[in-house]
């Protein structure tokens, strides 16, 4: 054979580029964090009114960890977001497939999906509270809605965008519609679904905190709301950082899953 790429080599090189980041980049990241902390310390020490420095915030985080409040809030928030996200995604995937595969389903569902997509999920909160009370249900519902709407659109677009040549290739090998759906459409749209889930998770997380600001007895949003009443800026910072770190961790976990499941994609 003439010019061939050696697969082992290619994939190994790609793995290095994607997986373990180059040391230089990591050093730069650390430098950026150090500069940020230094700037923050400076701002708080030259006396921006009441702004706590990193040390104070770390101390407050230590207190909140020791008395169990932080863990309790984190768990409360995570429980809501994961429940709403799981329900939203579980419903979005079959609905997205239905919309992509059957013209009738698309015609019936698309107006609703498109309409509700233009309403920020937070705007549903007043309605949800009136209809569902102030317990867990309205919060989980709003998160569910946020996750559902992102994932349903992504899944639908993934199904519609499946390369028709692949479908034809399966058909000429004797595949029935069922086989085409299961063996071609589902795997081919997986990357889109996973991207939709990541967007959905981000939007669920953002919605969660806002929902907790309004009515909750525990959770990161609730804790910050309480802290605001007492001008307790350190606690607010702890809450913000916890939200950021948790959001980042969840996003990275999904990204890892995505890479694992869709490593077959050609990346340009």
């Amino acid at each position: 054979m003439s010019v061939v790429t050696v697969p082992e080599k290619t994939s190994a090189a790609t793995a290095v580029r994607r997986g373990a980041r180059r040391p230089r980049a990591i050093v730069l990241n650390l430098v950026a964090v150090a500069i940020g902390l230094a700037g923050w310390t400076l701002l708080s020490s030259v006396g921006v009114q009441g702004l706590p420095g990193p040390v104070e915030v770390a101390a407050r985080a230590g207190e909140l960890t020791l008395d169990g409040t932080l863990l309790q809030d984190v768990l409360a928030s995570l429980r809501r977001v994961l429940l709403g996200f799981a329900l939203g995604t579980l419903l979005a995937i079959p609905v997205g497939f239905l919309m992509g595969w059957y013209g009738t389903a698309r015609g019936l569902l698309e107006p609703y999906v498109q309409f509700f997509r233009t309403i920020p999920p937070l705007a549903i909160i007043p309605l949800a509270i009136v209809l569902m009370g102030i317990g867990e249900v309205p919060k989980v519902f709003v998160i569910f809605l946020a996750a559902f709407l992102s994932s349903v659109v992504a899944t639908f677009q993934g199904v519609v965008g499946v390369d028709s040549t692949l479908i034809n290739a399966a058909r000429v090998l004797g595949a029935s519609d069922r086989v085409i759906f299961l063996k071609v459409v589902v795997p081919a749209s997986t990357p889109f679904i996973l991207v939709g889930m990541r967007i959905g998770l981000g939007s669920a997380w953002g919605t969660l905190v806002a929902a907790e600001l309004i009515a909750a007895q525990e959770g990161l949003g609730f804790r910050m709301q309480q802290a605001q009443l007492y001008y307790d800026l350190s606690t607010i910072f702890v809450g913000l950082i916890a939200i950021g770190v948790l959001g980042l961790v969840m996003d990275r976990l999904l990204l890892l899953t995505e890479r694992r499941l869709t490593g077959w994609q050609e990346r340009r």
């Binding site: 697969p7 034809n168 290739a169 058909r171 000429v172 004797g174 795997p187 994609q265 050609e266």
Partner: protein, 257 residues
């Protein structure tokens, strides 16, 4: 009757804004059992549409396509199709791609593995059987697609510009390999190309099509014996036939509006 594929006055029209577009206008063509026919013609003259009808992927507006005397109503594993864009399932390894049709045929696992193995070996991809398509070069991808078609052992091979995207050297190698396999297994091959050289080198007959409306312009016999060799490409006879095909493709009478 020894016609493997018969196109009988097939017509394909596509509705346009305010008129209909005549992609194929009453095309008739017979391809004999075990014949190797190539189809050339300017882009847009309906080559893919014609082949799609034989594959069962395109419904004729009028007329019919017979395979073994039976009207085609849909795709089937008796007709293998190879697409220019390879159309490999990117999430499956070479082996799994090749086994795709065999699984659908519900072959026992042992038989399936054996047939996939043989097909992969035939196209020289044994060392890459467990590689994903993204790690393969264009030529290797097309070999894999060919192996996938061979594995289900179709009587007819329909190939739509399969080597069009490959570099010249790889193309020549795959042409020779295709002819070699064909000489052993004697399938009926309908092969579309826009490369006049390729059309003449492979075929017993070259079908030249014309556009607007899509139709058969001429059919040119290639009076060269098989096996074809690289020396033949340089022979005077080859050159003469190539000129004839070339002329008929590129100096077509202007279409009647």
């Amino acid at each position: 009757m020894n016609n493997k594929i018969s196109f009988r006055e097939v017509v394909k029209t596509y509705p346009m804004k305010d008129t209909t577009f005549n992609a194929l206008d009453r095309v008739s063509l017979d391809i004999a059992d075990r014949e190797f026919v190539t189809v050339v013609g300017p882009s847009g003259c309906g080559k893919s549409t014609l082949m799609g009808m034989a594959a069962g992927l395109v419904q004729p507006t009028a007329g019919e396509v017979l395979v073994d005397g039976v009207p085609v109503t849909g795709p089937g594993p008796d007709r293998g199709v190879i697409f220019q864009q390879y159309a490999l399932f990117p999430w499956l390894t070479v082996r799994k791609n090749v086994e795709f049709g065999l699984r659908l045929a519900a072959l026992p696992a042992g038989e399936r593995r054996l047939r996939a193995e043989r097909a992969i070996e035939l196209v020289g991809l044994s060392d890459f059987a467990d590689a994903l398509p993204k790690t393969l070069s264009g030529g290797m991808k097309q070999r894999c697609a060919i192996a996938r078609a061979y594995a289900v052992n179709p009587q007819v091979l329909l190939m739509d510009e399969p080597f069009g995207a490959l570099d010249a050297l790889t193309r020549v190698q795959l042409q020779d390999q295709l002819l070699h396999t064909w000489s052993q297994e004697q399938r009926t091959v309908m092969f579309i190309t826009h490369d006049v050289d390729e059309a003449v080198y492979l075929a017993r007959r070259v079908v030249v099509m014309a556009a607007r409306p899509g139709r058969v312009q001429t059919v040119i016999e290639v009076d060269l014996p098989y096996p074809r060799t690289e020396e033949m490409r340089l022979s005077a006879e080859f050159g003469q036939i190539r000129n004839e095909v070339w002329h008929s493709v590129y100096h077509q009478a202007a279409p009647a509006a």
